[in-house]
């Protein structure tokens, strides 16, 4: 499904709607350039799971941030990760278990995610407008 967002608030709301449909073990892969709204979307998803979205900040620095909500929530950001380092990141430990994993810059780890992963593409349209395409889940 394709949605249009014209602000951070709308992107966050779409994230919230998406988050409400998630179950333990789900993997959400986010694709989009710098500034496309990936972290904003993660804030929305996390808030629907009862996490204070103020606590969700960019994970580019720490790569993997783990939150304890009703179920574990893993915010993963592969912006700085190179292919050679992937095998040693231990990514698989966070996928498909008891928790929910949301991955920014998922293209840096193509082939690492389960077949039933949910794919979200965030595309720049203009200034604050983004096209958001969700595959693998209806929200």
């Amino acid at each position: 499904m394709k949605l249009q967002s014209s602000s951070d608030q709308e992107t966050r709301e779409i994230g919230r709607r998406l988050g409400k449909r998630l179950n333990a073990g789900d993997v959400v892969c986010l694709y989009g350039d710098l500034g496309a709204g990936k972290t904003v979307m993660v804030k929305g998803i996390a808030s629907s799971l009862g996490i204070d979205e103020r606590d969700i900040t960019s994970a580019s620095f720490t790569i993997i941030a783990e939150y304890n909500a009703a179920m574990p929530f893993y915010h993963i950001d592969l912006y700085r990760v190179t292919p050679a380092e992937l095998p040693e990141l231990g990514l698989q430990e966070y996928l498909g278990g008891r928790g929910i994993a949301v991955i920014e810059w998922a293209e840096r780890a193509e082939g690492e995610f389960p077949d039933n992963s949910i794919r979200v593409d965030l595309r720049y349209v203009e200034d604050h407008t983004r096209e958001i395409e969700i595959k693998g889940l209806e929200i």
Partner: protein, 332 residues
């Protein structure tokens, strides 16, 4: 009393021997920028691997330079968060092993508390003071009422200021680390040429630096013939104005006359200049610790660890690192 400090929270392996929480006897930092420059950012796995290679030589060097033996060390203070988990693990594991073998008490230090403690290695600001910690991983304001008494007043809701610098630098084609490159070319640009938005988040002491990154990206897309110097200058003034305005507003609201700046970004020349001017206009006493104490180092960890140790706050061998570890926040 000698404390051995160890910090491996990010890209530097560091070890230091500090006497009585204030006097640096040795402070060794293995700057790893030569590795990271090739990869465009802090590369966690590389950092961990380098930490493994460097931890023994760096600790040995710190002990040797201090002329100290392990039997002279009263406690080992190690950073256990926040930071890159793979990097933190090396320091914590190493510190535990040394503590166990040599029967030395172990102390865990929050990296952010270490930053705040750095000023005491050079100066004696009175309490209370306002601390701004601004780096690649952190942008937070604290009220410090005493050693060990911190209250988080505000923090970034998305990107750290230094992260915005790194991402914008990459966008403009500069290599890691981005901050110094932007600072350098911004000096040659016109800060008024492009007016990037300032995210003040009215009524809040929090920061947001994600929007400015997007604004720079939008500008670069629409203006392929852009002048990098002007973009850098416009970006830099948008970031530092918000930092300076927010920290001085906080000082006014809290009715506190002292500000201390910490973190890698506090080495930025434009930030220092604007902050000095504002402090002088507002009658604020400003402390700018030396760059080598503002950036990650183990002396600040040893200094903070000294106070934990003297208060009897020790860690045991079950100590584990944590990537997420807020300091003095309502939920921390």
């Amino acid at each position: 009393m000698l404390i051995l400090g160890i910090d491996t929270s990010c890209d530097d392996t560091s070890a230091s021997v500090v006497e009585d929480g204030a006097k640096i006897i040795s402070n060794i930092v293995s700057s790893q920028d030569d590795i990271h420059r090739k990869y465009g950012g802090v590369v966690p796995e590389l950092a961990s691997r380098r930490h493994i290679e460097l931890i023994w030589p760096v600790v040995h060097e710190a002990m040797h330079a201090a002329g100290a033996k392990f039997k002279d060390i009263s406690a080992i203070a190690v950073t256990n968060g926040p930071g890159l988990i793979g990097s933190l693990l090396i320091g914590v594991g190493f510190a535990k092993a040394i503590a166990y073998v040599h029967k030395i008490p172990l102390v865990a230090v929050n990296h952010l508390e270490g930053h705040i403690q750095a000023v005491f290695l050079e100066a004696r600001p009175g309490f209370p003071f306002i601390a701004l910690v601004v780096s690649g991983g952190h942008t937070s304001i604290y009220r410090v009422d005493d050693i060990g008494i911190y209250k988080e007043i505000g923090r970034t809701l998305d990107d750290a200021a230094g992260e915005a610098y790194d991402k914008v630098a990459k966008l403009l084609g500069f290599s890691y680390p981005g901050g110094p490159a932007i600072d350098r070319i911004a000096a040659k640009g016109d800060a008024e040429a492009i007016n990037f938005p300032r995210a003040y988040l009215k009524g809040s002491h929090d920061f947001s630096f994600s929007g400015i990154k997007t604004a720079v990206l939008n500008y670069v897309r629409k203006n392929p013939d852009n002048k990098k110097e002007d973009i850098a200058a416009g970006f830099q003034s948008a970031v530092i104005e918000v930092l300076v305005d927010k920290v001085s507003d906080t000082a006014k609201k809290e009715n506190i006359g002292r500000i201390v700046l910490y973190g890698g970004v506090s080495a930025n020349s434009a930030l220092r200049k604007l902050m000095k001017k504002r402090a002088s206009d507002d009658g604020i006493e400003l402390f700018l610790p030396s760059t080598h104490l503002c950036t990650d180092n183990a002396a600040m960890i040893a200094a903070a660890g000294f106070h934990h140790y003297t208060k009897g706050i020790l860690a045991d061998y079950s100590l584990n690192p944590s990537a997420y570890m807020p300091l003095g926040s309502a939920d921390g």
